[in-house]
């Protein structure tokens, strides 16, 4: 399942959503907003999504991961709007019977999300703000 949300991501809820009695291993990636960028202090971050397309692409990523690996469940949650330093901007949880597949799929999902899903991050500094381009990641 995938979600784009405007409120703080509840990690326990994400974990519950991928739980299953046959699951042996769950890998979870949590992306958090850092307090610095190229040595400059970041005050806060704002995320913007082209929501219908982002949802469609995230759905497609979920389907593709299930096709590539024998997984139990996937949950991808991306936050939009203002995110405070240290809060999660994205959480991806993948459960499977064995751990290897969970690790590989989770890594694939975050790597591909960062390359292709139309979501943008704006870093707010004391002296201005800047949209982050993928080439600077």
């Amino acid at each position: 399942m995938i979600k784009i949300v405007k409120v703080k991501i509840n990690i326990e809820e994400v974990l519950d959503s991928v739980g299953d009695p046959s699951v042996g291993g769950t890998d979870v990636f949590i992306g958090t907003t850092r307090n610095h960028s190229h040595g400059k202090a970041i005050l806060s971050i704002e995320y913007e999504a082209y929501e219908p397309m982002a949802s469609k692409l995230l759905d497609g990523l979920e389907t593709e991961a299930h096709r590539r690996w024998p997984l139990k469940k996937i949950m991808i949650v991306h936050r939009v709007g203002k995110v405070e330093i240290g809060e999660a901007s994205v959480v991806i949880a993948v459960s499977s019977i064995h751990r290897k597949e969970a690790f590989e799929a989770c890594r694939y999902l975050i790597d591909t999300l960062k390359k292709s899903v139309p979501i943008w991050k704006k870093e707010v500094f004391a002296d201005g703000e800047e949209w982050v381009g993928a080439q600077e990641q």
């Binding site: 397309m53 469609k56 960062k114 979501i119 943008w120 704006k122 993928a134 080439q135």
Partner: protein, 82 residues
């Protein structure tokens, strides 16, 4: 002629000063032609042009994709989600 709805995001929206714009184009105009037209109207987009992708109806398309009347076209700057 045909009309397409064009959506702008992030730095491109800041340049255009609006998140949406209806553009009139010749029938079957290509995605690249729309982008050229936008650069002509908003020269500051030009600097970003090599990095922009185009999506039509929520799917990335190549520059030679032929647009259709009423398409929802999005100009996608480098993404930075995650």
């Amino acid at each position: 002629m045909m009309k397409v709805r064009v959506k702008f995001f992030a730095n491109v929206r800041d340049i255009v000063g609006s998140d949406e714009k209806v553009v009139t184009l010749p029938v079957d105009a290509r995605a690249s032609a729309l982008l050229d037209e936008l650069v002509a109207e908003f020269p500051a987009i030009g600097e970003w042009k090599p990095h922009l992708r185009i999506a039509v109806n929520w799917e990335y398309v190549p520059p030679d994709h032929s647009l259709q009347d009423n398409d929802e076209v999005a100009i996608i700057p480098p993404v930075s989600g995650g």
